[in-house]
Symmetry: D3
Subunit: 330 residues, 6 copies
């Protein structure tokens, strides 16, 4: 690694197996294969939008581990993989069954004991973290094992000490731990966080908040001394606070084909624009611009199968800056 990365991330990426729409897992004769994880989703999106991004993880030295690196390399994400040569090493797997009223999409995890759960700070490239502009982790990673909880804590501390901005997305997963465990973990991590992203429901449940959005972001920012707080509110858009100012960003309308990874696309778009180095066809780094970029990226994600938004800066700008997507461009 020679050049400093714009965004470095650390976490688990899973194999995602899904039957076609309208087919139940119990009857499926083939699964579509995708690769996804909150942190690598963010890295892949930001890479496509022009950032130098990296992803740190641990994978079994097996075809399945390499299936994941194949996917992430295709998005030009810089990888620091600790290869697990243990026979029992495994990749996390999840089965995604697309639904539709009156049943939702469902996720069946088979991820316990994956290789990444043993990842320690000693194994990873601290230089990659220290030299980056932003270090991003999601709340899923500390939920995977005690070892990872410690690793995340250490990584965030090292990053902040080195002047790398830290970004954290709560991402509470009820199938991995309960709200009490999550709350404890979040509270020991938040002192090392600069930019906090959280779904309103997760903030309410895991951080015990229950006020109007603006009050919540003000409260969180002051409680945890955060530079930026972003409260994502589903169809109600986003309320954010940055350096004491509150912003609102509505969602862009989208025809959803696959909702998985929408939040990660938002984060990838937001962080890229915030770094303001012209990657997105504009050098404006205002928080408004960054939020709009995130929202546009998220809307595009919903039209694309898989966890990762395959997009270009121009497509994001078109959604963000213009109105018209009617008809066929030809």
């Amino acid at each position: 690694m020679d050049t400093a990365l714009d965004i470095v991330t650390i976490g688990e990426t899973m194999l995602r197996l899904s039957p076609p729409p309208g087919v139940r897992i119990t009857q499926a004769n083939e699964f579509d294969v995708h690769v996804g994880g909150a942190e690598s989703n963010v890295a892949a999106v930001a890479s496509q939008l022009g950032c130098q991004t990296g992803w740190i993880s641990k994978l079994p030295a097996s075809p399945l581990g390499r299936r994941i690196t194949t996917a992430l390399q295709s998005y030009d994400v810089e990888l620091d993989i600790i290869w697990d040569h243990d026979d029992d090493g495994r990749v996390g797997t999840y089965y995604f069954e697309p639904g539709g009223k009156p049943r939702g999409d469902t996720v069946q995890y088979d991820r316990a004991g994956s290789s990444v759960t043993t990842l320690t700070t000693a194994e990873i490239s601290l230089e990659m973290i220290k030299s980056a502009s932003i270090c991003y982790v999601s709340g899923i990673t500390p939920a995977l094992s005690e070892t990872l909880q410690t690793t995340v804590e250490t990584v965030l501390q090292i990053a902040q000490s080195a002047g790398t901005k830290t970004a954290f997305d709560l991402n509470y997963r009820s199938k991995l731990w309960n709200t009490t465990m999550a709350k404890n973990a979040y509270q020991s991590l938040l002192p090392d966080v600069d930019i906090l992203i959280g779904a309103e429901r997760d903030v309410n449940t895991c951080l015990d908040r229950s006020a109007d959005p603006e009050s919540i972001v003000r409260d969180l920012a002051s409680t945890f001394n955060l530079e930026t707080v972003i409260l994502t509110r589903g169809k109600n858009g986003v309320v954010a606070l940055s350096n004491d100012t509150v912003f609102e960003q509505p969602v862009y309308d989208a025809k959803t084909i696959d909702a998985v990874g929408t939040g990660d696309a938002f984060v990838g778009g937001f962080l890229t624009q915030k770094l303001n180095d012209g990657h997105n066809g504009t050098t404006c780094s205002s928080i408004e611009h960054a939020l709009a970029t995130g929202a546009a990226t998220a809307a595009l994600k919903r039209t694309i199968k898989g966890d990762i938004a395959a997009i270009t800066p121009a497509e994001v700008a078109a959604v963000r800056d213009t109105d018209t997507t009617e008809g066929i461009s030809r």
Copy 2:
């Protein structure tokens, strides 16, 4: 067969061949293969919801006949198959072309002279029928041949005499016979029926009714001495009468992927719940509960490809008992 079945059914099951959405049969290069028939759809749904169910039919001793048993066995339906060793034996086949405004789904039958059309009472296991709790037949079966009309009549008589409740779904098919023929057949069958299910339009056309729903169900119940009458009214839900009380059940909202088999899913859900043996996660056998279970099962069916709802009791209960299917469960 040792244990008495909860629900025994008798009828034809066809091979269903369908091109992908947006592709016309005239251009199709591959057909998706499914298996469906009103009675076996009901049996497969009820089996998944916890009943012991059976299906009686006649099939050619050929790969196509076995394609059908393969499918129904996968749902753990108990089979009593009369194997037709005649070279000319055939399975009924239908080609299903999914549409969408301004053209509807269309069905092209190729079912004339299928093996089941020669099925006589002498060939089947009467013990299976006599020992069951419910014997279900649809109005399609007597439409297939005079032989089958006689067989259905005899079976319903034998069932009632043996204390097995009889359930009949009008299911008028204009491509098989006309309303006069159907009316004559229905009228000779209805004296042996306990539970009648009928679409409002079929009741109007084939049973010459034309009143408000409540009047119709009261009229039918008293005319034919029925324990239960269920009038299905499409998007307007269901009006039912049971032991002189009238009930209404609205439909659950659904994103339809495949509407075929919706009515059968309703019947499968309704009958299972009505048997009240705790299979559905509740021991309540009230008619309200049964109608809601039927409606929830029907709504789930619409999200699933093929004629048979692949579902679990828990999924049905979730639709019936809760409101929320937003988001992704993970």
Copy 3:
């Protein structure tokens, strides 16, 4: 060629390659193959509705050239192909990426220098044109090369002189030329046109009109001495003028699976009905009937994958003449 054709067309037909919905071209592992071009789309649609139709073009003598004739022959379109034996001959190709809010469908052309761009009047069967009832060309053809612009001009003149009605659809394509070039070409072609079809936007941009629809069609008809002018207005339907009378035709509601070729389906339906020879199950050739037939054909097209509406006269009549497409026909 012995019998006179009802409709003869001349133009380019391309290979269309498209990833499945939700998959980006940049990630695609397989492409669906279709064949499309404005003129052959019209010919294929009209052929299915009962016309004798023909298509004149130039194709490389290669598997890809033959892929195109295979497709058009399947619709029983009479072909007059000039086979290009030059090694550098090529078929036009376009990559179609289906979108969905907030990104539209996109088209990536790879059609420069295709064999048809060198097609001259000397190479084609003038008898086929002179003996036909209608000769149809779209505004895409003159945009492809100067040679083709000359060829189209000559063909329209020859047709008109021979008593063959000429039909022209503006079909402005911004990826092929600019509005100035288009305007010049259109203005030298329009004197030889009898029936003009144009999208409102194209008329405004390329023919410098900007009035209410009725004024525009009156203006165009008198300026260019047109028998019939059809202004297509997207969801607002169609405004037409024929022999000094103005007509309006709304669109039929449709669930769009593939919008490409909708305009061509309209033209194919309209021209067929206008020829009034009973092909469509009615011998009425009124302009109202023709517009309704076009609109019904166009609505059906939107439900079908590929550029060509695979339809029957009966299906078109059902949309045009009745209201009900609810439920499943069985």
Copy 4:
């Protein structure tokens, strides 16, 4: 029909449905769709090799009937279809299960009572037959119904009287009739035949021959007064007699992907070359050349999925006239 056809054919064409290699029909979730029939296979092959060919048949006026015309039109075969508007009209269907040692390919017919079985001479275009150079029928057609047996007899007589050469391929199918029935039919047809093609086994079984190949072809030619007799002997190639001279033609080696239609490809290639009008890139009409063309076409067929050889004259000539197919042509 204006121009006389080179080859006119009459018979049944079926829908062929097949699971992928290695998948049993009893487990199949999708079927590949192809279209095949001995006579239309011959017509499609000869059309691609440059002949004007036609196919006469009767089909239900349904999507399935049109699926068949779509396929044959794509090969530019001229069609004379009697459309069966009877609700009970059907297309013959067959299920093809590809095998591999120790099980062979298997065919499951579902063709009884198809529309074509009622086709009478009165319904068809006799002009098409009288004006053609060759009229070809296979021994499958008279096996389908007594009506068709009469129709075939009449057609062959009319053809011969009009100076159209008649060609007949025994094609005995044990699933359709027995050898006694076939023998009777063949013997009443053979007096009207000019060119006889027959597999050695069929000749032995149905025409009671059992000698060496040369003796058999001599015997058949003199017994039935045949211009040409072709005895096909599987891997042992072909022995033919034409105008008292005997010829031998070995098979070309082929990697078989799909053996169905190999014999029809041979016939299509042979007849085309025999007509000697330069369609195959040579104007030689010697019987040797024709046999070699047939054998080359047959070998190519084996490499192609479906019943019909999709080929070009150049490809056939390359197999027939050169040795080398090693490597990749690029």
Copy 5:
């Protein structure tokens, strides 16, 4: 369970995921889904050949667990499933990558800690075992966990005490344990075994034998007091000893599409025939007949995708009793 089973089995069944031939797992975009496990493969094969068979196992109460029961029920195998409601319950999974010289097929297991590894004798239906004619287990089951090793030991003892014949297939898997562990386990199990099947290599490696086949089977039979010993020798066929007589059975030639499950198909065919109740179209129960039935079933398996041979008694008999599979049966 009322009627006694012919064959009861106990073990693990896994989800098998495989890319198409020629595609590496590292690049795969979709996986074909199959279900396989030595014991259930045997049960499914024997069921199709006419036996009443059962399979006992433990599965997570999840869509993936139900995916497995769906598959086995489709073969009409009687199931005794202990449903694991623990969140951490999982199905064993394996990724199968089809190869071809110079790389073989490869298997990547992800099966550690699957639900079945905790299956105890107390959980299962002993009645099902005691009343069966044969109880079959493979050497994979004791390799999965110490708990299962104990369970298998107890089950075999209970079976033998109850007069149920016990059959055991060594099936050594080097990815699960080493030869020392296997040897210890096998030696404590073999005293409870009546019928032993073993690959020559496994017998040599894990049971320390190294003599000619006949000596080995004699030695094993006397050492472990076995009724029947079958030594499978790959392409060299099978050498068996039963009641002191030695038999040889060559393999039937096969075009291999999928070799997985070949051994299980042999066992299923062998045991079925040995039970001699006419299921296979012959009432002969001689060991020769049983070995030939096993070999024929095994050869057919190789032509079928997935772990389970989808076959009929007639197909097996055709391979076993006749020579000819040339050509197409039609």
Copy 6:
């Protein structure tokens, strides 16, 4: 670019579109999408075997251009892409139709005028070339345009001057130029080449040689002052000369699924091993070892779909160093 690359390559990479086996392009309804080009194939193979590799090219700034970078990035090849923003920029495309006796695989190019044909030395990163250990180009690149011929010449000169070894594979393509043109180009390039790879046939045809292999390699080495000459002889293996010693390497037997890219896989394997930095699990850099590595990589390629061998060092070593690939590894 910070670290020096092991192997830098420059050339064209095309989109490859191919119908499934047994389907002709003229009938195809879908194309499999792959990406291939001699130089990037070599880079992708060597990258997987452990080298740092790079690929320099020019691509249209379009989804199709990015389809190619997506593929190559997935193999972790370092890219230096000049993005062509011209509307007329295009990717080279080729249609690959898999054959099988008696027709070979065929390739249909549609690559004329692709963006790379305008690539000049001024546009590319010379530093990347100068710092690399090896610079590899194939003889296809100079065949694409005069501009590219000049670019290749300059690049080889600059590389050699900077101490970067130059490797050149003749790769004569008769569809791109003739032997005279190729000979002239080769002769002006060879003075700047260190390592020459050439198929025996190309050497004979384009370099006018016609002796036994050993004489040819000696002759070429002395004539052009080459460090290493490798003569590839199809099934006869390879004869090589390095520093005056002659070596022979037979081919490893392979079941060919896709032969495209076999030669590039050989080069990728050979060059990697020759660099001797332990990437391949051995630090031996002997020419014998390198040739065996190349041959093993080539054999593996033949079992994999697409132009690029997806392999691991361990798989290559297994073929090279051991004999046994029988059976299934589990």
